[in-house]
Each structure stands twice: as C-alpha cells, then as structure tokens.
C-alpha cells in the first residue's frame, strides 16, 4: 500500500512515524521483505561526511559610511570573489593565497561558524554613488547580514576507489596514495550514503529538505557534473561517480561539528560537509531501494598514478574489510571520509524526525534524466585525440 508525503508527515507530527537509519534498515532487510519493510517503516535517514571541494558561502557584509563598491576583497588575506554587487562575496572553499596554501576559503567558513573575527579589507575605484576606495575592518558571523552556505556539487552518488601503481607517493584529494598499490582509499559511506538509497532520485529533487552541517538545508538543483546515465550494476547502483546535488543552508545556524576545513598536502583546500537526506518509504519499491547493503554496492578502482586508468571493480563490504584483491594482489584499504560522523548525522536526523521537528518535503521539480558529462577540449588538441 502506497503512502503519500502528507500521510508520512501526519505521522511525524503525531510522533507515530517509524524512522530507521539506512544501516538499520539494511540489517532489517536480511529478515524482512521490501513489502514488510514498506508496511513497518515510514522514513529512512542517510548520512555522509566527506571532503566536498565544490562548496562555499555567500556573504553580505552590510554597507559602510561612506559606502564602497568592493571590487577586490580579502578576508584574512585570502582573495575572495569581488564579482558580486557592492558588499557581497562568495567565499569558495578552495580560495587561497598561493604563498600560504594551507589556509583558505574553507578555513574562513569554519572560522566564521566558530564565531571568530575575520579581517576584511576591500578596494574599489570609487564611484559617484560609492565614493569610498578602501576599507579595513573586522567582521564576524553575527555582524554580517547574511551568510549562506551554497554548494554547487555535493554528496556524490558513489565515488571511485583511488590507488597508485607508480613508484612514487601521490598526494591527492583522495589522500596520500602509497607507491605500488600499498593502499587504496574510498570515500563513500556505502549503504548509509544518501544518493545510494534513492539511486534514481525518485524522492530527492529541487526543494528536498535535508540535514546540512547541523541545521536544515535544501536541495536547490541537480549538482554540477550530474551524470545520470552511468553504468549500473544488478542492484541498480551506478558503479562510479554519478549523480550529485546542489545544496543551500543558513551558515549562521551551522555547527562546527559537521563542517570542517581540510588541507591536502600538495593538493589544496577542501571542506568536510555533513549531509543527511531523509528517504520517505512511499511504497515497496522505495523499501527495496533503501534495503541495499554494502556487498551490493559496487564501485570502480582507479589508478590515480597512471592517468586514471580503470583497474577493476569492488564493493563496500570488501572495502570495509580492510583489504581488497586486485589481479591476485592484496591491497590495504582505508576510508578518507568519516563513517563515525555519517552515522552521527543519520542518527541526528532520525531523532529530529522522530520528535516531530523535521518534516519531509516533496520535490517541486525532479532531477534531470539522460545526462552525461562533457569533457573540456583543448584548442590545440588534434581532433583524433579523444578523452575518456
């Protein structure tokens, strides 16, 4: 029997909704059929806490007197966007001063959330309506008008496993990859991962209310590099990087427990972002989707040392065991995203819903279908060269 969003929300409001985390429902699926799960369970919560470079925050500083049209802006010496109106910026997580690459945009965002004061220095040419040419002052999260986290590409649906065949250490966004297959790194939260539990985004679309860095946030669009035609396995799960979501939320309400700046040696800056998505169990089909288990979720092993060569496939049960076997060779595995935090997020969201504090929203527009990725062609590349 199918359930509607409003029926589920009525149950949440009356404190009668049955909410489980994606790990709990995966365990339950060993003894119950999707039909039985659909009858018993109303909502399943998911979670992920990984480094997501495509993140950032819009800030409106407020106007000074006399006013300035900020054209070049620095926050704690980090150049941030001057391409938005007079007193606005977008702090990109990866913004940095190349002279001091270990502190940048993500650190500014974390500092703001921690209530720290930030030095703002800005320059403008001076106009008739904005005569001021320079300002140096301090700002903080509570002094600015708005601070909005807006991340164009987060929560990748599955992600590749990274390893390295070469003789040299590779420093990557997937961490330190030791020479000659001495390790393999994975970043997806497996059966707990949001977009794995609704692989075709039937319930995740524009307007979906989510957990974002400790407060409520929203899915605003399909994420950039949204790839909906990636090869899927027998369980309907894309076996590599596929769909993504764009998310938004009020930075002023976020918690440093679920938003952390990261610096990767010889790579650069990124931001750990905590995301949890509630999946409504509308029918048996959704119950079947959320029943997915680690051994059924496959991903692709990529050689980050040698031109992103595809080496093979594995699954999250194998990855979580601490060792995978590739062409007869044992490779030690470790995560580079926090399962502890992902579990905390799914638990927190479950608690909010169970207490009636968080209602589900039906998407106002579904995610696109039939999309794939385009590559960037170099003008000097002969047409015979194709990119994978």
């Amino acid at each position: 029997m199918a359930k509607s969003y409003s029926e589920i929300n009525d149950k949440i409001k009356s404190g009668k909704a049955v909410v489980l985390t994606a790990e709990e429902v995966s365990e339950l699926s060993r003894s119950l059929s999707p039909k039985e799960i659909a009858q018993k369970v109303d909502v399943v919560t998911t979670g992920t806490f990984g480094a997501m470079c495509s993140s950032g925050a819009f800030i409106n500083f407020g106007h000074a007197s006399p006013p300035i049209r900020m054209e070049k802006i620095e926050l704690n010496g980090i150049r941030v966007s001057g391409g938005l109106a007079a007193v606005d910026t977008y702090i990109g997580a990866t913004d940095c001063n190349p002279e001091r690459p270990a502190y940048g945009g993500a650190h500014l965002i974390e500092d703001l959330v921690n209530g720290k004061k930030i030095t703002l220095e800005a320059w403008g040419k001076g106009t008739d309506c904005y005569p001021r040419k320079h300002i140096r002052t301090t700002i903080a999260l509570d002094s600015v008008n708005e601070a909005i986290l807006y991340n164009p590409r987060n929560a990748y649906q599955n992600y590749n496993v990274a390893t390295n065949s070469t003789d040299r250490i590779k420093h990557t966004y997937m961490g330190t990859l030791l020479p000659r297959f001495r390790n393999a790194a994975y970043s997806t939260a497996g059966e707990l991962s949001p977009l794995i539990n609704d692989p075709e985004c039937r319930t995740i679309g524009l307007g979906t209310r989510i957990f974002l860095c400790g407060t409520e946030g929203y899915v605003t669009w399909n994420g950039t590099q949204f790839h909906s035609t990636k090869e899927v396995n027998a369980f309907g799960i894309p076996t590599g990087n596929a769909r993504t979501i764009a998310v938004i939320g009020d930075l002023k309400k976020m918690s440093p427990d679920f938003l952390r700046a990261a610096y990767y040696e010889k790579y650069g800056i990124s931001l750990f972002v905590g995301i949890g998505i509630p999946i409504p169990i509308l029918d048996e089909e959704m119950a079947r989707r959320v029943s997915i288990r680690n051994e059924q979720i496959e991903t692709t092993i990529i050689d980050y040392g040698a031109g992103n060569r595809v080496l093979g496939k594995t699954n999250y049960a194998a990855l979580r065991s601490g060792e995978i076997v590739l062409n007869g060779q044992k490779i030690r595995t470790a995560p580079v995203a926090s399962l502890v935090k992902a579990r905390e997020i799914a638990d927190r969201l479950k608690e909010w819903i169970a207490r009636g504090q968080f209602l589900l929203s039906e998407p106002v527009r579904p995610m696109p279908v039939g999309t794939s990725l385009r590559s960037l062609e170099d003008d000097n590349t002969p047409e015979t060269c194709s990119h994978s």
């Binding site: 961490g175 330190t176 030791l178 990261a262 610096y263 580079v336 995203a337 502890v340």
Partner: protein, 139 residues
C-alpha cells in the same frame, strides 16, 4: 627481537663509528628511522635494532660505555583526539599499521608500538592534528 630506541650521542662520540660497531661486532641489524647527527656536535638517532636479546643487550651496553644515552622510544607521534573527525586519511597512509580505523567503531586507533615515525600522518591529516615530539623523549 626488535627494539626501537633513540640514541643520543655526546659531542665526543659523533666522530666515532659506533653504529658500525653494532653491526660488525654485535651482529645487530639497524634500520635508521631518523637522524639528527653532525660530526663535532651532539646528535640523535632513532633506530630500530633487530638481534637476539643477548646481542642487543651487549650492543646497547657498548654504546652506553661510550657515552651514548639509550632511551626507549615511547609515543613519538601524537594527535588532537578532540578535534579528530575519524576520516581515515592518516590510517590510509600509515603503512606501518600504527594508525588504524575499522570495525566495529570506525574510530581512529593509534598503537605507538608499531609507529616508525615516518611522519606521513603529519602530511596526510587534512585537519593537521598530528604533532611529532622528538626531543621530549630523549631523557
């Protein structure tokens, strides 16, 4: 047996081939993990010594009779557990398996006994939570 020790060489011992003698006379296999030594100045060596127990004891006595201070290597690497998010980046890089993460809690665990102070964790931690304290342990 394998023993990990810090050898502190006084000024007058740095120009003598004492580590060579450990190999030649006492048949000890030496793996130098870290060296801060310069002839004419005091210096330190962090080494892993592999030999049978008797040979190891004799070799270390020989060093001490030559003015070298031998101290056992305790925890050289430390990290800020409070701020750790248990992402696993350090454990991924730690080929000595001193830093591990896995079932059932997926929290980071550190076994100082296995640490060879390669310092890859210092580079690999995206939150820069690791510290190395070399001098403090040489007492």
């Amino acid at each position: 047996m394998i023993k990990k020790v810090v050898l502190s060489f006084p000024v007058d011992a740095t120009d003598r081939s004492l580590t060579y003698d450990l190999v030649k006379i006492y048949d000890i296999r030496i793996n130098i993990l870290k060296a801060e030594i310069e002839a004419g100045k005091s210096g330190k060596l962090l080494v892993e010594l592999d030999a049978d127990e008797a040979a190891l004891a004799d070799g270390l006595s020989y060093l001490e009779s030559n003015g070298v201070t031998v101290s056992l290597l305790a925890s050289k690497i430390s990290y800020d557990k409070e701020r750790c998010i248990n992402c696993g980046n350090c454990a991924s890089a730690c080929f000595a398996k001193a830093l591990t993460i896995g079932e059932p809690d997926w929290e980071l665990h550190f076994n100082p006994e296995k640490c060879i102070v390669c310092k890859l964790c210092l580079k690999s931690c995206p939150l820069k939570l690791f510290r190395i304290e070399f001098a403090d342990n040489i007492e």
